[in-house]
Amino acid sequence: MSSAGRPTMTYREALRAALREALREDERVFLMGEDVGAYGGCFAVSLGLLEEFGPERIRDTPLSESAFVGAGIGAAVAGLRPIVEIMTVNFSLLALDQILNNAASLLHMSGGQFNVPLVIRMTTGAGRQLAAQHSHSLEGWYAHIPGLRVVAPATVADARGMLRPALDDPDPVLFFEHGSLYNTSGPLEEDPAPVDLDHAAVRRPGGDVTLVTYGGSLPPTLEAADHLAAGGVDAEVIDLRTLRPLDDATIMDSVRRTHRVVVVDEGWRSGSLSAEVSARITEQAMYDLDGPVERVCSAEVPLPYAQHLEEAALPRPDRIVAAARRLLE
C-alpha cells in the first residue's frame, strides 16, 4: 500500500490487469502472439492468462509477424476484438505490410465499409542492453501513417487505463510499451477510469520551459525537471500519450505560457516524431517562442549493446537539463 492508501502496482501488472479485464468483459477479445501463452509473454505481461482463459483466447503463434498480424486483421474485420502482441517494434517491420497496407488502409479502401478494430501491442525502446535489433524506438514511424492511432502509455495508470479505449476504438490502435517501464511501479485506483486517448497529459505543471515527451522518456524527463527545479527552473512536463493524432492544443497552450520547448524523444532525430512536434510548434506558436525548439533524441546509430555506449546514445536527464538551460541562457 502506498502512502496515499492506494495499492501500488507495476506497469507490467497494470497491463495484465487491463488484459484480464478486457478478456473478462468482452467475449470477442483474445490475445495472440509469440510466447504469450505457455511462456507467459516474453516480458511476463500475460503470465497466468493462459491458465485463466484457455488456449482459444490466449494463442501462441508461430514466429511469423506478417502471418499473425494479418490473421489479427482478418479476425477484426470478421467481428472479433484481437489484441496482437509483437515482441519488439524492430520485429514489427516484418508485419509492416499488414499494418500499413491492410490495417491502416482497409477503411479507406473499402469506402468506409470495413473498420479494423485491432489492437497491436509492441515493446519499444532501449536501456536494457538488448542491442540494435531489440532496442529501437520506431513508434515515430508508425505515427507517420494515416489510419492508425498510436498510443504510448508512460505511467502505471495509463498502462491500466489505455487498453479499454484502445479496444473501443473502431480503428487499428498501435500500443507501444517501453521495455524499461515494465518494472516501474506506482499507485493505482482499484477501478480506474478509462484514459482519454485524445489528450496529452500535463505530468508536471511549470512556467519556465516546456518539456514534451512520451512513453519511456517520461521518467528521465521528470528526473530532469527535478534537477531543473533544484536550480530554480520551473519546467512543465507534457506526456503526449497519443502520438497520432497529436494533441496540438495542449502543447501550444503550454508553449504560449513558457515560450521555450525541449522535445525529448528516444527515436532518432532526423525525420522523427520530435521533428513533427517541433515543426507544429513553429507553425502554430512561432511568435511565442523565446528561443529555438530544442530536441533531445537518441544518437543516430544502431543502438549499441555495451552498457556505457547505450547510455551515451540515449536521452538522459543531464542532456535534457542542458538543453533546457541553453534556452534559459
Binding site: H259, M286, D288, L289, D290, G291
Partner: protein, 387 residues
C-alpha cells in the same frame, strides 16, 4: 511604363510623406526634373525623376506617408514623341540607392520581436554580449526602464509636416537616434592637426580681388576642396561600414554639416567634390546652404554622402571632435580660423591657423591612415594654387 517610387533620402530613412506634386498626369518630364516634394524627418525635399517620359497616374495623394520603395506615380517612358528614344524603358535603379545597414542586425527571438513591437521598444538597441539572441526578458526589462535611460527611438511625424515645431522635434529625435547609434556602435578614434592657413588666406585674397562680391570664395570652400582631395587619396576613409565590412564610396561625396536657423542640422551633399574647381565648389556650396536653410533641397542633394565635413566657421570653437554619421566611417572637422602664435624656422610669428580634426571608425581604419589624411589636408592647404 515604370514606377516612380519613394526614394531613400538617407541611410536612416525608411518612410516619407509626399507633400506636393510638382507635375500632373500627362506632363512630359526629363531625367533630373523635380516632380514631387517629399518630407522626411529632417526637411522637405524635392525629388527628381530618373528617366525621361510622360507622367501617368499619380498613385499617392499629397499628405500620405509611405514606405521607401512604394510606387508614387507611373512614368510612361515610351510615351509618343520621345525625343530620346535611347532612354531605357527599364529605368535603372535610382542612383539614390544608399548602402543601408541591415533592417535589424540584432539577433532576437520571435517572441522578443513581437514584444518589442507591442511595447514600443527598439530591439536594435538591445544587443547582448557574445551574440546571444535578445530574449523576451531583455525587451521587458528595456520597456520598464525610465524613458531617460531608454535609447532614443526614432520618431517620425505623422501630423502635417508643415508644422515647424513638429519638424524640429522630429529632426532632434532623428539626430538623437543617429548619434546615439554612432556613439554606441562606432569605436571612434580622434586625431587633430594645427594647420597654417597663411598661404591659403593670401591666395584667397588675391583670388577674390577681381571677383564680384557674390562670387567670392570663402575659406570653407578651400577647406572642403582640400578635404575632398585628401579623401580621394585615402579611400579607406571615404565610404561606409555595412554588414561588418567596409564598402568604399563610388566617389568623394562630401556632406557639409549645415546648421539651420532655429536649431538642427542638415548635411547636403557636394557630389564628386574632388572633381570640382574651387569656384565651382563655392557656387555649389552657396546654393546648397541657401536651400538647406530654406528647406528646399533635392533628393540627390541629400543622398549617399561618403564623408562628412563640419566647419564651425569664424564664430566657432577652436576645434571639433565630431560624431561620425553612420554608416560613414569618418568625419572631418575644422575649427575657427584665427590668428595664432606660430613657430617658423625658430622664430615666433603670427599666422592664421585652424585645427583640423578627424573622427574615424576604428573598425575601418587605424590612426596611421587617419594621420595620412590629415597630412594630406595640410599639404593641400599649403599649396592653394594647386587646389
Amino acid at each position: 511604363m515604370s514606377d516612380f517610387t519613394m526614394p531613400s533620402l538617407g541611410a536612416d530613412m525608411d518612410q516619407g510623406t509626399l507633400l506636393e506634386w510638382l507635375v500632373s498626369p500627362g506632363d512630359r518630364v526629363h531625367k533630373g526634373d523635380p516632380v514631387a516634394v517629399v518630407d522626411t524627418s529632417k526637411a522637405a525635399i524635392e525629388v527628381e525623376v530618373f528617366e525621361d517620359g510622360v507622367v501617368g497616374e499619380l498613385l499617392v495623394p499629397p499628405g500620405t506617408t509611405v514606405q521607401v520603395g512604394t510606387p508614387l506615380a507611373r512614368i510612361d517612358a515610351t510615351g509618343s514623341g520621345m525625343s530620346t528614344p535611347a532612354a531605357s524603358p527599364a529605368a535603372p535603379a535610382p542612383s539614390v540607392a544608399v548602402p543601408r545597414p541591415p533592417r535589424s542586425s540584432v539577433r532576437a527571438t520571435p517572441l522578443a520581436r513581437r514584444l518589442a513591437d507591442e511595447l514600443g521598444v527598439d530591439i536594435d538597441r538591445l544587443g547582448r554580449p557574445g551574440g546571444l539572441p535578445v530574449r523576451a526578458e531583455d525587451v521587458r526589462a528595456a520597456a520598464q526602464r525610465p524613458p531617460s535611460d531608454q535609447p532614443a527611438v526614432e520618431q517620425r511625424p505623422t501630423e502635417p509636416p508643415s508644422a515647424v515645431a513638429t519638424r524640429h522635434d522630429s529632426m532632434r529625435a532623428t539626430i538623437a537616434a543617429r548619434m546615439s547609434r554612432a556613439n554606441r556602435d562606432i569605436p571612434h578614434y580622434f586625431l587633430s592637426s594645427d594647420v597654417d592657413l597663411g598661404p591659403a588666406m593670401r591666395w584667397l585674397r588675391e583670388h577674390n580681388l577681381p571677383l564680384p562680391v557674390a562670387e567670392r570664395v570663402v575659406p570653407a570652400a578651400l577647406l572642403l576642396r582640400a578635404s575632398a582631395l585628401a579623401a580621394a587619396a585615402t579611400p579607406e576613409l571615404n565610404g561606409f561600414w555595412v554588414d561588418d565590412g567596409f564598402v568604399p564610396g563610388d566617389g568623394v561625396h562630401l556632406a557639409v554639416a549645415t546648421s539651420l536657423r532655429g536649431g538642427g542640422l542638415l548635411a547636403p551633399v557636394l557630389h564628386d567634390a574632388d572633381h570640382l574647381s574651387v569656384d565651382a565648389l563655392m557656387a555649389a556650396l552657396r546654393d546648397l546652404v541657401t536651400r538647406a536653410r530654406t528647406g528646399r533641397l533635392r533628393a540627390a542633394e541629400l543622398s549617399d554622402p561618403t564623408l562628412t565635413v563640419t566647419n564651425l566657421g569664424d564664430q566657432g570653437a577652436d576645434s571639433v571632435h565630431g560624431v561620425i554619421y553612420p554608416p560613414q566611417v569618418a568625419l572631418v572637422g575644422f575649427g575657427r580660423v584665427a590668428d595664432r602664435p606660430w613657430a617658423v624656422e625658430g622664430l615666433l610669428g603670427v599666422r592664421p591657423s585652424t585645427t583640423v580634426t578627424l573622427a574615424a571608425d576604428h573598425r575601418a581604419t587605424d590612426g596611421f591612415t587617419g594621420s595620412r589624411f590629415l597630412a594630406l589636408v595640410d599639404h593641400h592647404l599649403q599649396h592653394p594654387e594647386d587646389l
